[in-house]
Amino acid sequence: MIARLLAIAGAEWRYGLRSRLALGGALLLAGLLVATTVLTALRIQGEATERAHHQTDADAAFLSQPDRHPHRMVHYGHYVFRTPAPLAVFDPGLDAVTGQSIFLEGHRQNTAMFASSIASADLGGMSWLSPAMVYQLFGPLLIILLGHGVIAREREAATLATLLAQGLSGRVLLVGKALALLSLVCVLLLPLALSAGLAVHAGEQPMAALALSGAYLLYLMVWGLLTLLASALLRRRAAVLATLAMLWIALTLVLPAVAVSAASALVPIAGKLETDLALLTDVRKLGDGHNANDPAFARLRADLLIQHGVQRVEDLPVNLRGVVAQYSEEKLTRTLNTYAQAQMAAEDRQAAALARYGWLTPLLAVADASRAVSGTDLAHHHRFLREAEALRYAFVQGLNRVHAEKLAYADDIRRSSDAQAERRTRVDATHWQLLERFRFQPDAAASRISQAAPQWWMLCVWCALLVAAGLVAAGRLRP
């Protein structure tokens, strides 16, 4: 039994190796894969070095600021850069379309600016070629090219009748052929293994690299099974090829793009400008944290005087201006975060609406899984935004605490008019050390893999359904 299966698979391989068409196609795809793997790895590693360099510069610039009033540093601000995850050399994902740096300052949450797609030469959507995209789009093509004849060829040459007449069951024949296609898929995955190996070498967890290979194995298996099924069901080889070509156009080119249009029409999200209008109205109600006399802070002031048992603001052990700055930054940030979270949730909803189409086309499923496992998906972009915000809040409040504790209120209010007082409000530059160092790391491999749970289901269900259909078709295989 096993020997028979292996014999069938072996015969298929020998046929493939003698076919110039099969070899030519395989060589072309291999060339494309190797070229994109090398070029993408170089590009991403270049980006990583550049961003790490920018980050070091930004850290140094902040720390080297002279003695000054701490609130000046709140406005001086800081820059954070997101370095790409190791597996980005295989799937850069959203790297090109989302900004990779954020300017952090007091009282504001800025957006991630300067996505590289904005400045890059515009040569159409297909020109963002990465190894992941080559697998997603062209892996299936090679499988179709090599596999469409597995049964149809035997049928056209009338050898299928001989095989079945010799007592070979249709199931055994089909499983043998499937084995041949499966081994082809495994060979196809070698360049991916190379990329993944490089990523592991660069610090990626092996489990993520394995999961990534698993996702593409399932995806290519779906296409192998589709090819096998078409080859077994349709009578003429040309018809098999035409059907599979149409299926390829539909599933890899048309449906994903249609799904995008559908998701954006069915689950529209308000743009940032629209939500910012509402946000601004809310923020204006909070009072101006620069003005300790703003009526919005009267309560805080009264409480503070009672708490310390003094009559005048000047007698407080802390600087009222610094306390107000802390208080208002906290309230403001709460409002900003509410809006930011709502925006992210809306984006998640739209992404989920798009991801559901993975049930219809395995390309969307594998693309989502690939980005999630590589750490280049929407979840990681959002985490970058959240971590940048956490760092912003931490250093702004740290500076505000210095403002409250190290500066005398009397000096602070007179600093515009009194040069002596102004000098006393400059705090020592060692305080700037409170800035945390920013280094973006992808999630742990396990959580990235479970992030793609719906996609694993989709790919497995696709496979299971096709295996079942294949077994049914094999039982009814006729010459």
Binding site: H54, I118, A119, A121, A238, M246, A257, V260, G271, R284
Partner: protein, 428 residues
């Protein structure tokens, strides 16, 4: 043979082929698919454009209400300029539904105020990154990338299938003008694809009031593109090979022209034409603005007056804080970043220019870019919008500078003369 009888025989050949094809169900299936996809693409583009238009209408109104409310609460020119935002936007053109182009990832709306512009203009209220990455299904995508594949499917085995069926030599012998039968078949099949694709586009264009010249130009581009692929397909199908070898070769050519050349070109162009990092522009501008607080006010004012000599007589700042000084250092921040910012724009322009040349070697990209240019959704349109935002921001400064520098008494009635951002006029 006389000219008349040759024309007659050609006419009968066309009739014969048309009748043959009318019986070929697979050809009809492909035409149906093209028509269906074109309807889908055009309606998807249509609904997206409508979404954008209604969003702009909502924003214009909300922006006006917000600004009026804010201005009502102001007591001086400086805080009025500081607190009031102004909406700028680039409305979709009447052909944008066919090629949405860069409107997915480039900004086409901003709210700016009188602070340094470099800190604001690079903000982008872009759409969803995953959607932008996968890309939308618009007519340009269909025409540029999918239709060539349909033609390949329709035309690759014109001869090979007849050879397999054993009719090839008979057909050539009986067709009179032997070699003509293949171009004729290819032309008929291609025309069907053209009609199926162009019909929904024309219909939507006419209903939506697109300029007829735009529509005709788009059709001409589509026709030229289809003609190219039809010629390639018929040329290659003359090859004495099996249908599947020809198909594989044609698909390989498609991959080369639609994917490999553009991808390699993008990489090469981006490498050949460096643009300054955006972070540097912002950093330069921020440093200039921040440093101003520590610098003597006269230094800032001197740098300001250099470019704005008309305010030289009003540039003295005596108080610890004066709004004219505040806006002067915002302007100086822009001035310091100007060289970098101009290099950023020039670099993008140059990259786009080279991409335009490279597109000549990649017909699908050429068609997509041409349709986007026609729809004003390309980089040039995006840069033109950016220029309009800059001009508008300059007019805001022109409105406030005289009031700030001459220390005019605050008069809310003057806000009726505030510059209004005007969308581009004229046909587009």
């Amino acid at each position: 043979m006389t000219a008349g009888s040759s024309a007659r025989s050609r006419g009968s050949a066309i009739r014969r082929e048309a009748v043959l094809m009318a019986r070929d169900r697979s050809v009809w299936a492909w035409w149906g698919v093209v028509l269906f996809l074109s309807v889908l693409a055009v309606s998807a583009g249509w609904s997206e454009v409508r979404q954008q238009t209604t969003m702009i209408a909502r924003l214009v109104e909300a922006d006006r209400v917000d600004r009026l409310a804010v201005l009502k609460a102001q007591r001086d020119w400086g805080s009025a300029a500081y607190n009031s935002f102004h909406l700028t936007f680039d409305p979709p053109s009447d052909f944008a539904f066919a090629a949405l182009g860069r409107r997915d990832d480039a900004a086409w709306k901003h709210r700016v105020r009188m602070l340094a512009l470099e800190g604001q203009i690079h903000e982008r209220d872009a759409g969803h990154p995953v959607l932008a990455l996968v890309g939308r299904f618009d007519f340009a995508f269909l025409a540029a990338f999918v239709l060539p594949l349909v033609l390949i499917a329709l035309l690759h085995d014109l001869r090979a299938s007849e050879r397999v069926a054993g009719r090839h030599d008979l057909l050539v012998a009986t067709a009179g003008h032997g070699a003509r039968v293949w171009p004729l078949r290819a032309a008929l099949r291609t025309s069907g694809v053209f009609v199926g694709a162009a019909l929904p586009l024309m219909l939507a264009g006419v209903l939506g009031g697109t300029a007829v010249s735009t529509l005709l130009l788009a059709c001409a581009m589509l026709m030229a593109h289809l003609l190219f692929w039809a010629l390639v397909c018929t040329g290659l199908s003359a090859w004495r090979q099996t249908g599947e070898v020809i198909l594989a070769a044609l698909v390989a050519l498609w991959i080369l022209l639609a994917v490999v050349v553009p991808a390699a070109g993008r990489m090469a162009i981006d490498r050949a034409v460096p643009v300054p990092s955006g972070a540097d522009i912002i950093m330069t501008q921020r440093e200039a603005v921040n440093d101003a607080w520590d610098l003597p006010k006269s230094t800032t004012m001197a740098a300001f007056v250099e470019r704005h000599p008309q305010w030289a007589d009003h540039a003295a700042v005596e108080r610890p804080f004066a709004w004219k000084w505040y806006y002067a250092f915002q302007q100086v921040g822009d001035q310091k970043a100007q060289a970098l910012s101009a290099a950023y724009t020039a670099g993008r322009q140059e990259r786009d220019r080279l991409a335009g040349w490279l597109a000549l070697a990649a017909p699908p990209v050429l068609l997509e870019r041409s349709l986007q240019a026609l729809a004003r959704t390309d980089l040039r349109a995006s840069l033109a919008y950016e220029a309009r935002v800059r001009a508008f921001h300059a007019s805001l400064r022109e409105f406030y500078y005289p009031r700030l520098f001459r220390d005019e008494a605050f008069d809310p009635a003057a806000f009726t003369a505030l510059p209004d951002f005007a969308a581009p006029s004229g046909p587009h």
